[in-house]
Amino acid sequence: MYRQYKIILFLIIITINYPASIIGATVNYDNVKLNRAEIELKKEELISVGILIFDPNVPEGEVTKTLVFPDIRKAEARYFPYHLKNTLEESGYWGGIWLLPSSTKSTDLIITGRIDKSDGYDVTMRVGAWDISGKQWIDKSYSARIAGSAYSKTRDLTQDPYQSVFNQIANDLIEIKNKLSSAYLKRLNEIGDLRFASELLPGVYNDYLIQEDKTGIFEPIRLPSSEDQMMIRIKEVKERELTLLDTLNEYYALLYQELSVPYEEWRRANRQNAITYEDLKRSAKKRQILGAVALIGGLMVDGDSNTGRYASQSLMVGGMQAVKTGFAKASEAKIYRNTMEEGASVLNSTAEGLVIEVEGQTLRLLGNAQEMFSGWKQLLAQIYSVETGMNIPKASSE
């Protein structure tokens, strides 16, 4: 009997105190500083970087259930890599950096990303990086919980609220790069040129490279002469591809600029709503569970004695009250959820327009450029035949 009372007392204390303990949980916010180059790096120490548009990773199902807004995600898929580009540029450790609409062999390092979560409060993205030889640098998930101060108007406004994540990605890449020798970086440039050349004239330049079967990593067997006229022309074409990327990046910059203010406003508001919504949801669930436990406990108590009856009634009343407040909290959470949906719908339509605009321009430019590149490819083959008096040999991989 005495033991039963102890259990009931324990349940009552838990029922009263548990929600308070949840709400009072402390959260740690990381503040990662960007590793910046102290001196200007030599040209040989720089490599070019291409960051592919991130995978928006929009889950299947209705927006009301997932709370992932497709057009905001698509805009984020361009906004995040563009900000990562800015962050990498700010570090001073890299050569040219471009946001890429599709994979290319014009840059020495390719970065890919996938957005797993982004609601202004929590951000998670998976990032991978591979150099042009095929060697993997990183394949890692980055997460951060965003502090309210990250949205302060008085902060350095060049710093994104998610800056810690971008700084961490940049620092990881810098750490790997700093471990590589200048000779390796130079070789990357050479492999990059050869892989680009192999795309244009596979029959001529495929044999300069070998790809290891197991690792898939490319190694140069020999290098063309510095006076190889065909290679000089190919580098001219490569320059044009980079010029095209420069132009495309101007369009992405427009999207980035036009999106930055409304997107930050949305994140700030959504963060607060997300915190409140999560708290209310959690609180509602716990209250409902503990209320149900108290009700079961009240039914289990032996009600023969006065004390037992009193305890049983207390538990029943307490349990009922907990379940009732649990439902009230759930209703309140639903209101916040609706607020989040409404807040997102405005940005969603803005983002949709911006993404359509930039994608339209990208398709137009890429379409024109593709025609030019096909033409150059054929012209180079003709020039090769003219200059060497030989037809292009069939590529070994063809």
């Binding site: 001219e236 420069d246 132009t247 600029q257 450029a369 033409g375 012209l379 003709q382 035949s385 003219v386």
Partner: protein
Amino acid sequence: MKNFVLILVLITINGCAVQQMSGGLSNPSSPSSSSGMPSPSLPSDSQSSQSSSSSTSSGSPSDQSIDSETGMDPMPPKPSTSSGSPSDQSIDSETGMDPMPPKPSASSIFDDSLGDFDKEMAGERVVIAAANKGSGAMSGQEMADLEAIMEAELNGPVELESDTQADSINQSIETENIEIPEEMTGKESNRIPSCVEVNGVGEDKIARQLRVFAVKEDDPSIRTELWKQYLLHIGKTESQIKRCIDNTK
């Protein structure tokens, strides 16, 4: 009855002929040299140039190069000019036969197309810069980029083939000395807004480049943006620019 039999025989013969023809067209294994990717700068694919060189096996490597460089369909070999020497060509022109117009080499087509691409990209960037800053001027970096690209365009592409280096140098010198108004066609001169000096007196290098760019631009929206940049560069106020552009329209 005889007529009927005759008609039947004729129909049978014609039917066989039609069947044979249609069978030939639908044959998937028939060679098709036009299956290459479309390329406006390249009239024929390399396969055709290879076949031309094999069909004129008695010709010198230079004969091959002419076919390949022009990218034109190979001309059938003329028995009277089988040696294909340059003197033969001059004799053709002297005798009043249709002379072949000088065709650009693949190398020069390549260089020209690089220049065209640069021009296109520079135009894009001007439009973006205008969209980005509204009525504001281009940044120093953008202006420097534009200047570099257009300078390359004005000077002409660098010839990489040693035998054409001299021509290339002459070409670039000629381009440097071009008086723009003399170069302009009627269509191009109509593209100059009324408020802009036709002879471009006193304009600096960047303004000159923007002018050249604008008069050569076929797209009216890009051309308008280029003129806006030109007028901004020469120090016109926004209201002046607006008036000038509106009058041109």
